[in-house]
Symmetry: C2
Subunit: 410 residues, 2 copies
Amino acid sequence: MPEMMQVLTPADALPVLLDHLSVRVRTEAISTADALDRVLAESQVAPSSLPAFPRSTMDGYAVYAADTFGATESLPAYLSLVGESPMGRAPQVTVGPAQAAVVYTGGMIPPGADAVVMIERTQKLDAGNIEVLRPVAPGENIINVGEDVKAGETLFAPGHILRPQDLGGLMALGLTRVTVASRPRVAIVSTGDEVVSPEAEPAPGQVRDVNTCTVAGLVARSGGLPLPQGIVGDDFDELLSAARTGLNAADALVISAGSSVSARDLTADVVNRLGQPGVLVHGVSVKPGKPTILGVCDGKPVFGLPGNPVSAMVVAELFVVPVVWRLQGVVSPPERRRVTARLAHNIASVPGREDYVSVKLAEREGQLWAAPVFGKSNLIYTLVKADGLLRVPLDLNGLHEGELVEVQLF
Amino acid sequence: MPEMMQVLTPADALPVLLDHLSVRVRTEAISTADALDRVLAESQVAPSSLPAFPRSTMDGYAVYAADTFGATESLPAYLSLVGESPMGRAPQVTVGPAQAAVVYTGGMIPPGADAVVMIERTQKLDAGNIEVLRPVAPGENIINVGEDVKAGETLFAPGHILRPQDLGGLMALGLTRVTVASRPRVAIVSTGDEVVSPEAEPAPGQVRDVNTCTVAGLVARSGGLPLPQGIVGDDFDELLSAARTGLNAADALVISAGSSVSARDLTADVVNRLGQPGVLVHGVSVKPGKPTILGVCDGKPVFGLPGNPVSAMVVAELFVVPVVWRLQGVVSPPERRRVTARLAHNIASVPGREDYVSVKLAEREGQLWAAPVFGKSNLIYTLVKADGLLRVPLDLNGLHEGELVEVQLF
């Protein structure tokens, strides 16, 4: 029997689930080269300074800056060349007073020198002597040891999602392996006596499974590893067995519930049998998606999504996505791209309910317009034809044509 | 010898490369389940209508709507039950005048019925009869054949990047395999006598390779397949040989040039030897990134990036990323997320040059502020510490503190 539970707002429902979760982030050590978009599980500290030696930022001459003070085109400073600082090696020369050594961009500054004169600001007199036409200040055109990063500096906190430049920063310090959160495995069970595999030719009354694929896509985009468990009929024992198998092999379970009321009650009964405490939220004040089930079974999150594809996607986005990030130690998941647009038609809503409306964007006379994609919430192509979702806040009874609205792009 | 070429603006430079490209999108047929974020190579047409049979959107009774006209709580319509429409099967019953059949959400509407009455708006009299308490209009609570998609309708155009709901939409129609653009293979050669592998312990004067990893990350995020070719010294024959091997195995080549002027000239010479026409652009009015080389060698794009990591990333973002998308048939690549913020400090620039400045975002008193991350452009951690890039347009000599600016997030 389904329990009597209060319908919660989306903002209230998620914390109920999170509070019951035993978030122990599973971790693994992987090659930094493979760590793009993975979540760091440990903070990273610089093992050494970067750069490790003073480097030139210019092609030119390493000099003792004081030797150039007052130099002009008409009264240049004369310096004698003592050699060069070859790329990739420690220079064999020392720069003394009135001396200079050839350096290249990125090359090491020889001992004694404290500045670099750009080659364009010099003139070569002969093989052994140059004129410097402009003064340089001490430190000019030099990157000092530790100017990028100092040894012992904290580079990243746990929960950081690694971007291309972060991998580069780790590599620069020789941190070629990192400990990251393992990808959360999310078992996905699709239910419904009417649902058949996408490969099958549906008989009259049958439809192909859509939700396994859309939920798997959202899970993968959130760093998770979807584990599709196939399709199960609206039968308690069959569903319980599939759910148990899936949850045992995974860190989280998504059941895309059958679409009838009795099939949804079945899902709640199954979640209550999977582990403690079972169903925590049964019903969320969101449209589409009201018959959502959120539960925790022996520490693992379990979701009962409404059967129709649009509700399933909206609910997965609201609840499954942030939990998959949380299982990787990410508290504030990356946000979707948003654009501001004018609403092309009135949208009616009901106060006390959050509505998500599929919209298509179009530019007219330099202004971006968001037009609702009308259609019953069961139609997957309302999402396919849309560019994003528009949220009608909980306390409004609608939005008006011409209003500026924020659209969350897919 | 490097050719004398005009320095182009970023907006002018990219088309020069694209115009010389023979974009022949390589394609492959893959499972739709594996096609997330891949680019469709062919347009997709609906092979059948969706739904394929009329479906109920409610649990209730399928009826002939005219029988319910005028029904009220005090004067209900009396209908006799002729059976049910079981989920997943064609109903065996026909609904005649003054008759009703049980239907469930998603179930097939039996012949004869043209509307569904929600169960909440009925009362059961006995096993064989119900009262309908409110009228329904013809078509109410029914999804008609083809209401989601009609057979023959074009679903997607080539160049469409597949989102989770798109996979669902394809699966719903049994389109379990799709032809997508193959991932463009991008060979990456890192050069410089001073550059060593990230695994190595650099000797004085040596630095670890950063660019292979950051460019590979950007390529992967754009749907490409990075093929790192290792590190090559500043030697013409060695570089030409590595570049040739890389380009032969790939659809595009990125050379992260040595950082000195002569090393960069080497790259241009190599690109000119790789195939026709060779170097097309040598120098772009962008900071960092001026010594950028764009070329096409026998139909394939070749990029010479400046050696320093920040320039390399900015230039890869400006030129490599859009070309990798173009090789998949995408003309308008997905945009990065942008936010509007107030500038925390003045930024100086030079008219005629586009500047990219790393900024860190912070919220103060409900307002988002963008603070430039100062540091020489050679420092990879200026990018690591930043949240995004701020573009100073070509014609400005700077941006002022307090100005509203648009930040492109990483």
